[in-house]
Symmetry: C2
Subunit: 297 residues, 2 copies
């Protein structure tokens, strides 16, 4: 496919979800304005918006209404943003920069960062449960249940706990992959599955998108770890080579740069094969899989 049309679609999804977030986040008014400002700073501060892209593209396979896609993409981005705010805290990764700007606890303060993260997570579920998200309450419940599963102790948060634990243990490659499935791939999987849920897709179509999301999520994490080692701070927009310095367990540390890249490429190819049943309609999803492997930041 043409690189130009993928770039346009990525840019469209980015500006679409940013407009939705701006409209769907509370306004900074009254004495609690500082909290809302921190929430908005955290979630409107940049990022590639890859997860929203996958929501939009998976939903487009089933002709899902754009308003539904915008709500779900915004909810997912609230969860992703909250996880970064909490991960960056002094008690966690203690990071000072995110998307080239001070992290929330540096720009505001630690208490505000904890509470803004909590409020973003809470807001995500409010967005999914509201009638504006989808006319069928069964669909809305399914979205809430799946996002809670993907983001909770058996998903993202559990993965984060393993990531910390693995700094002081010697996990096997299988254990690292399980950690990254939970920590990173779970939200990508939700992004891809969400379109199928919104579109009331068949079980086989939904399963294909889940499988695609799992592979893409792991691929994304391997490339993230490669960029952390190879990247240049100005391009990546955050401190680089920090993970290795901290003894973080990664596939890259396990396999080395070259084999890790080969593995990521194999996973992206596997992801693309899961899209076979969608034919030409999935061309942008296939392009995005290539983009995830070849990205430089």
């Amino acid at each position: 496919m043409a690189v130009a049309s993928l770039e346009a679609a990525l840019g469209d999804a980015k500006s679409f979800v940013e407009q939705e977030l701006d409209a769907l986040l509370p306004q900074a008014l009254g004495p609690e304005a500082r909290l809302i400002e921190a929430m908005r700073y955290a979630v409107l501060g940049g990022g590639k918006r890859l997860r929203p892209f996958f929501v939009v593209q998976s939903g487009s396979l089933f002709g899902v209404d754009r308003r539904s896609l915008g709500r779900v993409a915004a909810a997912l981005e609230c969860v992703h943003a909250y996880s970064l705010v909490h991960d960056d805290l002094p008690a966690m990764d203690d990071d000072e920069l995110r998307h080239g700007k001070p992290t929330v606890h540096r720009a505001f303060d630690e208490a505000t960062a904890i509470l803004a993260g909590d409020a973003l997570l809470t807001h995500a579920f409010a967005l999914l449960a509201a009638p504006d998200c989808h006319g069928d309450p069964f669909v809305r419940c399914e979205l809430v249940a799946r996002l809670a599963q993907a983001a909770g102790s058996a998903g993202m948060i559990g993965g984060q706990v393993l990531d910390i634990a693995f700094e002081t243990t010697s996990p096997t490659q299988q254990e690292i992959i399980r950690m990254q499935r939970m920590k990173t791939a779970a939200l990508f999987t939700f992004a891809c599955e969400a379109g199928a849920i919104l579109g009331k897709a068949s079980n086989s179509a939904r399963a294909a998108l889940v499988a695609f999301g799992q592979e893409i999520g792991l691929t994304f994490q391997i490339i993230d770890d490669l960029l952390d080692l190879e990247g240049d701070a100005a391009t990546v927009g955050k401190a680089v080579a920090k993970d290795a310095g901290r003894g973080k367990a990664t596939i890259v540390a396990e396999l080395g740069l070259a084999r890790a890249r080969t593995q990521a490429e194999a996973m992206a190819a596997q992801a693309i094969r899961h899209l076979d049943l969608f034919g030409e309609k999935a061309e942008l999803l296939r392009g995005a899989a290539d983009f995830v492997v070849s990205r430089k930041s």
Copy 2:
């Protein structure tokens, strides 16, 4: 009403929700066991379980199924417990004791406390959205939406932010009441409204329970602040007179002990009047309103 039957009902609600929580929280298995242990420590560590009591009693007015009540009570208690875990953090109130035991960040560590709080909040929404909560997905969505509203930036978290801000400003009595409506009364209101949502109650019955919950929540907070000043650490189970030392804005600091108690009693009486339309069926809710004013811990 007989004090004995209220005590029995409070005890029943407490043991019921603790059984439900034990069954509905994940089991501590695998390398992420530490996270689950911290979640369970936070939520099974004691407390009066007043919010679950209000869920059970409000639902009983409409003959709501006990399984639904248990799920919703457990979800609400997960949210309440998460808020305590995060409030106790060094960057927030920096408390060492909760229910007479070390706080989660003291018993585990700060990163685990942040993540266990996040996981409890997430789990609450998973419980409400699951089909086991209620057969009608519209009811489940309504519960998710209302809990997110009560716990979010316009509710509990917003109130917490105001509470911190008011340590260094001079709020009016109206501003303190607004803060406490958000910080404390919102979850009590949800507890009382939840029964009406589950029971598909009439608008007037639901509005009466909302009004009752708002008054009871404010009453609870005033008494909490009174106990903080008057109480004995061994009875209350946490450090006392800390709020005054910190310059926390409270109704008690504003009105003085005697007038604050009179105000709390007037609010409880007002709360009870909202129950008129339920007749004798609401006798335990009336008794609980008296209990909230007269409690010693």
